[in-house]
């Protein structure tokens, strides 16, 4: 057997459907683009700066971890860039540079790599980063203060803060259409409802996120908000208001659906999504924080492994 050609020997199957982590990440980013561009348009160069800084540092932290742990360089898969992008989308445009750098550090290093890197994180890294910043530097996340100096031609009050402090009379200035078109203050990429919905639909149709999670999350919010609203219409805003304000939409399509920290089986996905939705409204209406999306999703991340045990019986399983 001299002069043998060296053939590639590997295990079946010998074909692949062509999907990959990078394709997934880049499509998530494309889907987020309308909302991000709208943020640039509204908040100008400040927003561009925050987003650019956030993505760059997410990549830098990832690279640093790759070097330190002597693993192969993984920044090409787009996952860390996505973390940076989503993180920036949640921030106010006026966030100082050190906040962005610290936040991406927490997200990438603590949120993702401490747990073993991609696929190993029990919590959504973006939300870990954000939650820690929110607890540590609460004031920077008071959108009313942060965005005080902007005049964009609509009421520059953070809708969720307004309803929290003033009840429904405080939000009469907001119309559902206006909210959808981004006429509200908030995170850079979190206010343009229509853009986020379009992005979300794109991701669902292409199968890059699991629709069960997004839809049940929105349904959970809608129903819980409706019940509160029916119970006390002057104190609690209606369901549509809750759907289109704060981090609801970005949460539904981009955060709750993060692969590693969410369930994959059908019923667990519904429980997880609905649970996060219900928790969100509970925090908003009863808790001390203005928005509950971040903590609601993190809480559901926590119970995800337990919930995801509910799964269909495998064929031929003998119990």
């Amino acid at each position: 057997m001299l002069n043998q050609k060296k053939l590639i020997v590997s295990h079946a199957p010998f074909c692949h459907d062509g999907s990959s982590i990078s394709v997934r990440s880049y499509h998530m980013m494309i889907a987020a683009l309308p909302a991000v561009l709208f943020g640039f348009f509204q908040y100008g160069i400040n927003a561009v700066g925050v987003v650019a800084l956030s993505i760059s540092f997410a990549i830098i932290w990832e690279l640093a971890i790759n070097k330190v742990t002597k693993r192969s360089i993984s920044i090409g898969d787009g996952n860390t860039a996505l973390i940076g992008l989503l993180f920036a989308m949640l921030l106010p445009a006026t966030s100082p540079w050190w906040l962005v750098i610290t936040g991406t550090f927490v997200a990438v290093v603590i949120g993702k790599h401490i747990f073993g890197g991609i696929g190993g994180n029990p919590f959504n890294p973006v939300l870990i980063g954000l939650a820690i910043l929110m607890v540590s530097w609460k004031d920077f996340f008071d959108f009313d203060q942060a965005l005080l100096n902007y005049d964009l031609g609509f009421a520059m009050v953070y809708p969720l803060a307004a309803v929290k402090h003033l009840g429904t009379p405080g939000i009469e200035a907001f119309s559902t259409g206006g909210l959808l078109l981004g006429q509200q203050s908030g995170g850079i990429g979190a206010t343009f409802g229509l853009g986020l919905i379009l992005g979300g639909i794109y991701l669902i149709v292409r199968g890059f996120i699991r629709w069960e999670i997004s839809i049940s999350f929105l349904a959970g919010i809608f129903i819980t908000a409706l019940l509160f609203n029916l119970n006390n219409p002057t104190l609690h805003a209606g369901p549509l208001f809750h759907l289109f304000t704060g981090y609801t939409l970005i949460g539904a399509f981009f955060l709750a659906s993060e692969d590693s920290s969410s369930p994959v089986n059908f019923i667990p996905m519904l429980i997880y999504g609905a649970g996060a939705g219900i928790m969100t409204v509970l925090v908003r209406n009863l808790g001390s924080y203005v928005d509950g999306v971040v903590f609601a999703i993190l809480l559901m991340n926590l119970i995800n492994p337990i919930v995801d045990k509910i799964r269909p019986k495998a064929l031929g399983k003998v119990v």
Binding site: Q4, V9, F14, C15, D17, G18, I21, G207, S260, K313
Partner: protein, 427 residues
């Protein structure tokens, strides 16, 4: 080959290759100068084996390994034995490889011919277990697992292949004869033939009861066929034979039919050859023909780092040498250019859930794979349904991380088998 569709929301539909309405006759590969045959038994040079280098053999002659073993192979050519050696196949399975230099003049051995008047199970298992289609007769003499149903499968179990469908189209009379012989020698009356819907009409003439198989992969895998055809679910870790059902390919049945009809043992295998461009051609070649001959016949240039696959794209196995011979169960040979070779990556599972959506038997692949990666096979078998897996390969096919999931699964089963064999022998 098959790519993810733009709309990823729906479960991808992966379909079997359907036979053309009028299939072309297979392209015949001329008899090579040398063939290699495998005897299903490890070669030990201290055994007093019945074969010697330099022995003359005839086409259809039975080459037994030794007096005290019933392992044998049927020579598919006339010629001289030029080497006897050991060969290690997939997962460490050992064979005795016999190479034969082929003579110009073909002579046929007629030992078998004398026995065809009165077909018996003994005759069949003594002469026909290596015919094209690779039938297994041993299962009928296992008192622990009595067989009560034979399913003749005219559906090819992997993608892109049309070998067994072709046999239904072209050799239905031989199948009919084979079914009759099988009924007689096994005493089993319950013989069904399972075919894709477009072959239903043709299959009627087989004399077996016709059932259809769905065109969506992997419905032609035995476990799923059991479920649709006989309504039985095979318990995890059991085989179809444990439930009294065994599978024969249509080619195997046709070979049996032909053998008893004509008095000569079939030695030519039909297979689907798929070249680098995905062009499919039916081919017939002597069992033992090195794959290089077929590749040459199709003017395919083979380069370093290309890949040759025996079997289908989902479940076949890749080989490391062009000299590897066609075997009785080689339903397809695929040549892949190195640019099309799908590679695995070193990423871990990202928990995307694609495998969960596609697994036909609800194996929790995303969790299972974590245990398999860590080598915790017992845990995987006990809690995460390792043994429910029917080995379709779809989870690897869709894995976003490009993990070799299917490889892990096979390896785990293999390792657990080894452990239980070792325990049994030590006990």
């Amino acid at each position: 080959m098959i790519k993810r569709s733009f709309i990823g929301l729906a479960k991808p539909l992966i379909e079997y290759q359907a036979m053309d309405v009028t299939p072309l006759e297979p392209q015949e590969i001329s008899i090579p100068k040398k063939v290699t045959l495998f005897i299903d038994r490890p070669y030990n040079h201290r055994d007093s084996i019945l074969l010697n280098i330099g022995d003359q053999v005839k086409t259809g002659q039975k080459l037994s390994y030794s007096e005290d073993s019933d392992a044998y192979v049927i020579s598919t050519v006339t010629g001289t034995i030029s080497s006897i050696s050991s060969f290690i196949g997939d997962y460490g399975k050992a064979y005795t490889a016999i190479s034969i230099d082929v003579d110009e003049n073909e002579e046929t051995d007629d030992q078998f011919k004398e026995l065809i008047e009165d077909p018996t199970l003994d005759t069949a298992s003594n002469y026909l277990s290596g015919v094209p289609g690779n039938p297994c007769f041993k299962i009928f003499s296992d008192p622990e697992r009595p067989i009560n149903t034979i399913i003749v499968s005219g559906a090819d179990c992997d993608l892109l292949i049309t070998t067994n469908q072709y046999v239904v189209k072209a050799h239905i009379n031989a199948i009919n004869n084979g079914v009759r012989v099988l009924k007689k020698i096994t005493g089993i009356d319950n013989i069904l033939i399972a075919v894709p819907e477009n072959l239903m009409q043709d299959a009627v003439a087989s004399g077996a009861e016709v059932r259809t198989v769905d065109s969506e992969y992997p419905s032609a895998l035995p476990h799923l066929m059991m479920q649709t055809i006989s309504g039985q679910v095979v318990p995890a870790g059991k085989s179809c034979e444990d439930l009294g059902v065994c599978f024969f390919s249509t080619e195997a049945v046709a070979s049996i039919g032909k053998a008893f009809n004509e008095g000569s043992i079939p030695v030519t295998k039909t297979l689907t050859f798929i070249d680098k461009n995905g062009e499919k051609t039916l081919v017939s070649a002597r069992i033992g023909t090195p794959v290089s001959e077929i590749i040459k016949a199709f003017n395919v240039t083979l380069n370093e780092q290309d890949r040759i696959i025996f079997g289908g794209p989902m479940t076949g196995s890749s080989i490391y040498s062009e000299d590897y011979p066609v075997q009785a169960d080689t339903d397809a040979i695929i040549v892949q250019d190195k640019d099309h070779v799908a590679l695995v990556s070193e990423y871990p599972c990202i928990n995307c859930g694609e495998c969960i959506r596609i697994c036909p038997v609800n194996v929790p692949v995303n969790i299972l794979v974590r245990f398999l990666e860590a080598g915790q096979y017992e845990e995987a078998a006990e809690h995460y349904d390792l043994y429910s897996c029917i080995e379709c390969g779809l989870c690897s096919f869709v894995c976003v991380s490009k993990m070799p999931v299917f490889h892990y699964i096979k390896l785990a089963k293999y390792e657990l088998d080894r452990i239980s064999i070792a325990e049994a022998t030590n006990a």
